[in-house]
């Protein structure tokens, strides 16, 4: 299959040998599960259960709100202990509304859950509805509601579904193991999604450092002509969907657009697997695969984890820390975020827990920029990171935007190669956040002006009405004889 080149990119050591040969293991249930109502992009779900209620596995815990949202389901059977604030799986350490569940150990599925005998006979709308009801979101980490992506067929002319098996982040191996151990299910899910999208071509794209997964998929897809397996060169960020589509089709996604603009929709293999389970078995999304790895973990593993399990549970199962890690990361080392603690639960987007040593992180104090332009060579989006960072440092955020800040995908390639160890991506994330905050502030200003004008107008209207009433009364009394006031009568008397 003809492949195209992408610009830039870097080649970090993939360190996947730590966990790549570890078969998936089921993590035992934790004593308490904390299921956040916001595990996806869009509006948070609202609780559909009460405190003290007994729920079965797969029962609805939270209802999605609005078109961009997703429901949340019970990962196991048990009792709802409470609905309240709990630390979120987020770098800020802030809390989020969470449903705490105490498992009863029976792990009993909800009565009546069943799949569809032939998903390919269903209407695409029906498939999307079931995917939405199952709470399936992008499992590669983006957590965008998958049903919304399936409905893209209504607005765009689509021709290909790409299953993103690149897994370009170092250490992570969960997609690799999934494609090796559940090949048929992933393929089935992909075909169901293709049917829902109305496309006739499926490409399963896998990086060349996963030969067994490539072989397994090729063999499974051997008698399905619509499905092809593409071997991707090992390059970070090959898993970025825009660059993945460029590698496969040679076309760049137009700026501020979607890959659907050029007829392609990209989904993660775990999402395909979840779609298979939802359609064939009727199971909502209640668990996911997580790679626990890093130099500071005693036994790196790939675990199947019920959603809501505290991170500490995974670390303990993997033998704890062999040394105090320098960083504890959620996700991969390039685009992952630090975990605020180990109490936080595993959510739909958690694909990795990494305990990294200082030697692996290789962090050094930042030095002044020497304009070596290694970052320019590494940027897959053709930007000038050193210029953008210089503008951001000087407080000129508009200049940063003019240089292309909004086209930055935040992959971290620039920071990875910078010899001066300048935190380039942090400058860009700060700038993006600050621009968003200013946008919100401006909107608030406009609203405030409107409210103040309304108030002024209202008070003015009231005053005007008073003046008119007084003028009207004056006109009335002008035509009548003056009424005698008590003072007048006394004066007369």
């Amino acid at each position: 299959m003809k492949l195209f080149n992408i610009r830039g990119g870097v080649h970090p050591e993939d360190r996947k040998h730590l966990a790549a040969d570890q078969a998936i293991e089921d993590l035992p249930l934790a004593p308490l599960l904390h299921v956040p109502l916001q595990q996806h992009i869009g509006n948070a779900a609202t609780p559909a259960v009460r405190r003290g209620q007994q729920v079965a596995k797969g029962e609805l815990l939270g209802t999605g709100q609005g078109p961009i949202s997703a429901p949340v389901h019970a990962p196991t059977s048990g009792r709802v202990m409470g609905i309240g604030s709990f630390p979120a799986h987020h770098v800020s350490g802030l809390s989020v509304r969470t449903i705490t569940l105490q498992p009863d150990g029976k792990d009993q599925w909800l009565e009546g859950i069943e799949g569809v005998p032939d998903p390919f006979a269903l209407d695409p709308d029906e498939i999307a509805a079931r995917v939405a009801a199952a709470g399936i979101v992008g499992m590669g980490g983006a957590t965008f509601p998958s049903a919304v992506k399936l409905n893209l067929r209504k607005k765009y002319r689509l021709h290909t579904l790409v299953i993103n098996g690149a897994e370009c982040e170092p250490y992570l191996t969960c997609d690799d193991r999934l494609m090796r151990e559940h090949t048929a299910q992933v393929l089935d899910g992909a075909r169901i999604m293709a049917h829902a999208l109305g496309v006739t071509q499926i490409i399963i794209a896998i990086e060349n450092n996963k030969p067994q997964a490539q072989a397994a998929m090729t063999q499974a897809a051997a008698d399905v002509p619509a499905v092809r397996v593409a071997g991707l060169p090992m390059r970070y960020p090959m898993g970025s969907e825009k660059h993945l589509v460029q590698t496969l089709t040679g076309r760049e996604t137009p700026a501020r657009g979607l890959t659907a603009d050029i007829g392609v929709v990209v989904h993660n293999p775990a999402t395909a697997f979840a779609v298979h389970q939802a359609l064939r078995l009727g199971w909502p999304l209640v668990s996911r695969l997580v790679t626990v790895s890093g130099g500071a973990i005693t036994r790196p593993r790939n675990l199947r984890v019920p959603l809501g399990t505290p991170v500490q549970q995974l670390i303990d199962y993997c033998g704890g820390f062999r040394e105090e890690p320098t960083r504890l990361i959620s996700g991969g080392p390039m685009m992952g975020n630090p975990l605020p603690g180990t109490r936080v639960p595993i959510v739909k987007g958690s694909n990795g827990v990494l305990a990294l040593t200082a030697e692996e992180v290789n962090a050094q104090a930042a030095a002044p920029c020497i304009r070596c332009a290694n970052c320019v060579a590494a940027c897959p989006c053709g930007l000038l990171p050193l210029q953008m960072a210089a503008h951001a440092r000087a407080g000129d955020l508009d200049g940063t935007v003019r240089l292309g800040l909004m086209d930055c995908i935040g992959c971290g390639s620039c920071s990875y190669v910078c010899p001066a160890h300048i935190p380039l991506v942090q400058f860009f994330n700060y700038a993006k956040g600050e621009m968003a905050a200013r946008g919100r502030a401006k909107q608030k200003q406009a609203e405030t002006k409107r409210l103040i004008e309304q108030r002024t107008a209202r008070i003015e209207a009231i005053q005007q009405a008073k003046r008119e009433a007084m003028a009207a009364r004056k006109r009335e009394t002008a035509g009548k004889p003056p009424t005698q006031t008590p003072a007048d009568r006394r004066a007369e008397a």
């Binding site: 930042a366 440092r393 942090q426 994330n429 956040g433 409210l451 103040i452």
Partner: protein, 177 residues
Amino acid sequence: MIIAIGSIALLGLALGGLLGLASRYLRVEGNPLTEKVAALLPGSQCGQCGYPGCGPAAEAIASGTAAVTICVPGGRAVVEELASLLGQAVNLAGVAEQAPTVAHINENLCIGCCKCFKRCPSDAIMGANNMIHSVFADACIGCGKCFEVCPTECIEMRPVAPTMQTWFWPNPAQLSA
């Protein structure tokens, strides 16, 4: 040499004459800057700058009587915009980024006197005579006028807490400083 002196003198006279004509016939009346400055200010008429409203403050800033740093609720964003509009260099270190605040009424102490309701410039307080009042957090601009006037001191100005949707990475340049 005479030619050199003569030609330079002629040039000077000609260009100087042009400048004089321009200052006479191309002069800009009034101060169009005031309107532009006013558009940048928050418009909440809170009075924290010391001027009776955003209009007078805009005039003062445009004419140079007031510094660009006087607007407290505007924060750094407004100072930067004003500075770039007026072509001034400004030292942002002195500008405190005031955390936005929102008023909150303690309903146990509210007596329904309506004083705050009447004072609020953006109609963010809902209430009626002898009814407990409440604040629309979305409409509240944190000017503090209700706080000043409440007889039972039941209003407090609370800082707006960041949420997961509003949190973002801090500026690395400030961290290392």
